[in-house]
């Protein structure tokens, strides 16, 4: 029983990390259709932001909260820069976008190596996040619970922003029908930039959160980028709800299989299951139903 609960929490925890990594992509890839291979490097930039902030702000607790805000801005501004300089020129050329952003990812990794050095660095977790909490008789690290809460908070904030704010309406309208949005008086260029800023900003936040789980290095992003894309594709493109279900589903699946085998076998089996699933349901878990596509 303990082992089951323990794996359950491992799965939820993995799911929350996947969700944080994928949430920004759910905007930039899911909503806008941009394959941004540098998304993982925006997470890496967020993680190094936490590292830098901690050098300035000694108190680990304060520095974490400050880092979450600055990490968002750093990720967002990098995304905005990428959108304005490169991606905006190739919206109808997905393969070019993939290659160019992959190049940008490599440049950013090298930049991190040059600035911070190749070895991994550590960011201290605040005292109030050290140790574990007993849940159903199992010790769950506080850092993991914090990331779970952060992921839930980020999803709720994004869902509310998309649903209730004028910007959210503009984003959804632009995604639904770009020409129609323009003729409804919406500047779709400005909307694209803001969407990219937000999505990349969330990647920055995810990066800050990852510093709580271990040391960070220039290739931090590459470990998450494939999984993050998987979550968005399995969830159903453009569907926040789908991304949430997919992230926790994949997290639990991975943890469940790991329980009776190894992490590598679990990874392989999860990939096999995803491939099989997408054969049956290529549109992902959640698909929009309308009378017409327009």
């Amino acid at each position: 029983m303990d082992a089951l609960v323990s794996q359950l929490f491992a799965g939820l925890s993995l799911g929350s990390v996947l969700l944080l990594a994928a949430l920004g992509l759910a905007l930039t890839f899911g909503q806008m259709g941009v394959i941004n291979m540098a998304h993982g490097e925006f997470m890496m930039a967020g993680a190094y932001t936490a590292f830098v902030v901690q050098k300035v702000v000694a108190d680990a607790g304060v520095s974490l909260l400050v880092s979450l805000v600055i990490g968002f801005l750093v990720g967002g501004l990098l995304g905005l820069l990428l959108e304005v300089t490169l991606i905006s020129r190739m919206y109808h050329r997905p393969l070019d976008t993939l290659l160019v952003t992959f190049g940008v990812a490599l440049v950013l990794q090298q930049l991190a190596r040059d600035v911070f050095g190749a070895p991994n660095v550590d960011v201290r977790a605040p005292a109030w996040l050290s140790g574990a909490v007993q849940v159903l008789g199992v010790g769950v690290p506080r850092t993991r619970l914090f990331i779970l809460a952060l992921a839930v908070l980020a999803v709720v904030a994004m869902a509310l922003a998309l649903k209730l704010t004028p910007l959210g309406r503009r984003i959804r309208a632009t995604v639904a029908n770009r020409d129609l949005a323009e003729t409804a008086g919406i500047s779709t260029r400005a909307t694209d930039r803001l969407t990219f800023f937000l999505g990349s900003g969330v990647a920055g936040v995810a990066g800050v959160a990852l510093t709580l789980l271990g040391s960070i290095g220039p290739t931090l992003g590459t470990a998450y980028i494939v999984d993050a894309f998987l979550v968005v594709v399995v969830g159903g493109i453009g569907q926040l709800k789908g991304a949430v279900i997919a992230a926790f589903g994949l997290g639990l699946l991975q943890a469940g299989i790991e329980y009776s085998s190894t992490a590598s076998i679990a990874k392989v089996l999860v990939f096999v299951i995803i491939v099989a699933f997408l054969q049956v349901r290529p549109q992902g878990l959640v698909a929009v139903r309308t009378r017409s596509l327009a």
Binding site: N177, S187, T290
Partner: protein, 231 residues
């Protein structure tokens, strides 16, 4: 109010509209008629900025808007209801309207109310996702959305095409009421020659991307127009 002068438009190497002049006067309906493929929709898309004009100019209330993006033209008073009852299918009907009202501040709310007064049936459907509405309801929603932008010129591309007959009448009545209220010029592309001429003060017939016939509107001109269109 809206003047297209010597407008050439095309797709890639294909030229579709060849030097068309159309003038849309204040407070009345101007109709553009023609067969499928005559270039009507292409002309309208160029007028609102969704397609680039290769040569020629688009003047809106005397201002040259030829190089402006569509949303900039909308803000200057050019509203467009495209063909095919288009709506933002994943948004609710209310959000479809709110979206436009957002950009217009306090005036937006008032315009939203008066647009809903024009199509009272929409009030019942505000909470429903636009993609689930019928074609006629979506067309009313599209016209309401265009009106909330506070237009000086309203461009309607085949507003009654493929719509159930009882709603066609409502939409025709709304177009008549809007122009009668004043302050609005309407550019109407319509297959239904009878309605187009009865509403229009001026008509143009487009054939293979050129104006082949034009004149004052009125039902009594139906014979001329049908002859020009070889109907």
């Amino acid at each position: 109010m809206l003047r297209l002068t010597g407008v050439h438009v095309g797709y890639g190497r294909t030229s579709v509209v060849h030097g068309v002049d159309v003038e849309v006067e204040q407070d009345c309906v101007t109709a553009v008629m023609g067969h499928n493929g005559a270039g009507k929709t292409t002309l309208l898309r160029a007028a609102v900025g969704l397609l680039p004009v290769r040569s020629g100019t688009v003047l809106l209330a005397g201002e040259d808007v030829t190089r402006l993006r569509p949303h900039q033209r909308v803000r200057r008073g050019l509203a467009y209801v495209p063909q095919g009852q288009q709506s933002f299918g994943t948004l609710t009907a209310r959000e479809n309207l709110q979206l436009v009202a957002d950009g217009a501040g306090a005036a937006g709310k008032a315009r939203m109310d008066s647009a809903l007064d024009l199509f009272p049936a929409l009030r019942e459907l505000l909470g429903r996702r636009a993609g689930l509405l019928s074609g006629g309801q979506r067309q009313q929603l599209a016209i309401a959305r265009a009106l909330i932008t506070g237009p000086r010129v309203l461009i309607l591309d085949e507003p009654t095409e493929g719509i159930q007959p009882n709603v066609v009448q409502e939409i025709e009545d709304a177009i008549t009421a809007l122009t009668a209220a004043g302050g609005l010029a309407v550019l109407l592309v319509e297959q239904h020659v009878g309605f187009a001429l009865s509403a229009a003060a001026r008509y143009y017939v487009l054939e293979s991307g050129r104006v082949t016939s034009e004149g004052a509107g009125g039902l009594e001109r139906e014979g001329d127009v049908r002859a020009a269109m070889a109907l």
